[in-house]
Amino acid sequence: MSGVETESEIFTIQELSDATGVEPRTIRSYVEKGLIPGPDSLGRGAKYPRESLDRLKVLQLLRDANRGLTLDQIRLLLKRLGPSELRGLADGRLRIAALLDAAQPTSDTPSRSAAVDYLRTLRAEVPARLSTTPHHNYAWQDSLPVLEEAARALARLSGLTSASRGVRGEPWYRLPLTPDIELSVRGNFAPEELAQLHRIGDALRLLLTKGPRA
């Protein structure tokens, strides 16, 4: 098809309908669904390109082939056709059955990564919302280096070289850090000490959920 369309290669919706037997309202719905190119302008005199006619013919052939194709699947098939292939199918030089048979694996069976790709796109589309809900993976192998780093950092801060054990009879004070990890400290604490414990808990929580600061 040449880049410039001649008068004989543009059609009104009625001409498209007459050439294919498809009702104008159906043609409009195909345009809305992106199955065929729309007209170059609005109104009664709107003109459709030759490609609209070819696609309409091929679309009808695909529906008449009675393979139970949905419009979504037809759209995918049409999208893959080049201009010469499209024209060949519309003119009857190429067989529609050959197209369907060749396309069978891709049109009917999505690739194994299709769901992963879809979810990746979904995450990319709504980053703000999904990023507000951190997606953690608490496999212990992943957490261990972070815990070791936290222990080293706390040891450095406190100058602690060996762990001292608490005294029986003193109460436990529990600080939830993540849904799976809790810090339990035994002893009687003054309010100032408790405030410091909370600060340690906050730092640990940050280390566990975000990792060490770069």
Partner: protein, 452 residues
């Protein structure tokens, strides 16, 4: 009419029937098209069944604290013993955040221990970011799907006790994403826990996701429901079943029940979903007819597409045209009809009225709920005039309509919607102890409203 697509292999059996084939020349006829499929028995032994790539998504919001979460965890641990070594399991929990406790762990001895160790410490926290949790579960399953070198059944089971109140909550968007994932081979079933979950959100995900929705009102029902769903996932022989109708101009389709329907200028696609081995699924489509000329015919072309989990392939079958002929109003009234078929239509219609009206009632649109149920009951009454066995259902609907003017309590509403959903899909209620019938819930509600 029976159309076998491949007699040499285990194929579903389809039948297409219409309750009356003559239509009024003056227009306004309503006819019911009944599409029936019987799924083939399991073609292979358990030993050769495709392994399962299962994702469990557990609601860990604050309202699940105590027995519900304990029961969900126990059920997950019990599930480990029921799955063979070649299956993979992911476990994701959600509240305000999403945590992946196990990512596609192969269930050999070490894998079972690993999953058990990851699930036991699970605790409740925060709100109900159901969408994000479900997406997280789908991601875990989809990653395994992409990496697997053999065919597996990719299935997500979402357990929740509440209304999603963070992230995407709109039923139509949830349905859209569930459908897109189903088309890509990841199916979702849902389990509503307790008394106040959102039936609509869980239902649309299950329906569009090609799975099933279940109810586990009591914590001790969670395990049996999960096992039933697991069994259904493993014995499904027809997946993503979709009927396509090509309709003549002027014919308008409507579905009885909640089966998703997508229309275009030439007809409609109807997603019937998964059918387990040996089970029968029916879809009733109401067709409103245009006027015409005596002797002319209208032809409705019916085809079906489905996936077979046993060979991971898509299949299609042309189920042939259904012919309808224009005739005089007198001839239309006089034509006989198959009573058994009419009874099937009536059962689905009744379930449709209960479900739709209750949905409106729960949306707070009481006037519309009353108008809808009254109008439909009037037509239903006329349709059942020569079906004595359906007269009790007519009386029940007459009692039901006025109760739609006031909000139902959550449990009664949920039960009525769940029963009608199960009836319209021909699914079994796997819960162990007996509930009231729909009629009893309606009667109780009518008495409650009279007292107030």
């Amino acid at each position: 009419m029976i159309a076998n697509t491949s007699p040499q292999s285990a194929s579903p059996e389809f039948s297409v029937a219409i309750d009356r084939s003559l239509i009024n020349v003056e227009g306004g006829s309503v006819r019911h098209l009944v599409l029936t499929v019987r799924a083939p028995e399991q073609p292979q032994t358990d030993r050769h069944r495709d392994p399962l790539n299962l994702g469990l998504v557990i609601d860990a919001s604050g309202s699940m604290a105590g027995p519900p979460l304990d029961a969900a965890k126990s059920a997950t641990l019990a599930l480990l013993d029921r799955l063979a070594d070649d299956n993979h399991l992911s476990v994701v929990s959600f509240a305000s955040d999403v945590i992946t406790h196990a990512q596609a762990v192969r269930l050999d001895q070490a894998g079972r221990k690993r999953v058990a160790a990851a699930v036991r410490p699970l605790v409740t926290r925060g709100n109900t970011a159901m969408f994000d949790g479900w997406v997280g579960g789908c991601e875990a399953v989809a990653r395994r799907q992409a990496a697997a070198d053999a065919t597996e059944r990719n299935h997500v089971i979402l357990l929740s006790d509440g209304h999603a109140n963070e992230g995407e909550c709109r039923p139509e968007r949830l349905a859209h994403h569930a459908a897109e994932l189903r088309k890509r081979g990841v199916l979702t079933s849902t389990v509503g826990i307790g008394r106040s979950y959102s039936p609509i959100q869980l239902q649309v995900i299950a329906e569009a996701g090609g799975g099933r929705m279940h109810d586990a009102e009591e914590p001790n029902e969670i395990a049996e429901i999960m096992f039933a769903e697991l069994s259904a996932a493993l014995t499904t022989t027809v997946d993503s079943l979709e009927f396509t109708l090509r309709l003549p101009r002027g014919v308008t389709p409507e579905i009885y029940g909640t089966t998703p329907l997508a229309t275009d200028a030439e007809g409609c696609d109807i997603l019937a979903g998964s059918v387990v081995a040996g089970a029968t699924r029916r879809v009733v489509v109401k067709l409103a007819m245009p006027p015409g000329t005596i002797g002319d015919t209208l032809s409705v072309a019916v085809s079906a597409r489905w996936k077979s989990p046993s060979d991971a392939r898509d299949h299609a079958a042309d189920l042939g045209p259904v012919e309808l002929r224009f005739d005089t109003p007198e001839a239309c009234v006089a034509q006989p009809r198959c009573r058994d078929l009419a009874k099937l239509v009536a059962e689905q219609w009744q379930a449709h009225i209960y479900h739709r009206a209750m949905q409106l009632n729960q949306d707070g649109d009481f006037r519309m709920a009353v108008e809808f149920s009254r109008r439909e009951t009037r037509f239903y009454n006329r349709y059942c005039a020569d079906l004595p066995e359906m007269q009790a259902s007519v009386s029940s609907l007459h009692e039901f309509s006025p109760t739609m003017m006031f909000g139902y309590d959550a449990v009664s509403a949920k039960e009525v919607m769940l029963r009608s959903y199960k009836t319209s899909r021909g699914e079994t209620d796997h819960r162990s102890f007996q509930r009231h019938t729909v009629e009893e819930y309606v009667r109780d509600e009518a008495n409650r409203q009279r007292r107030q």
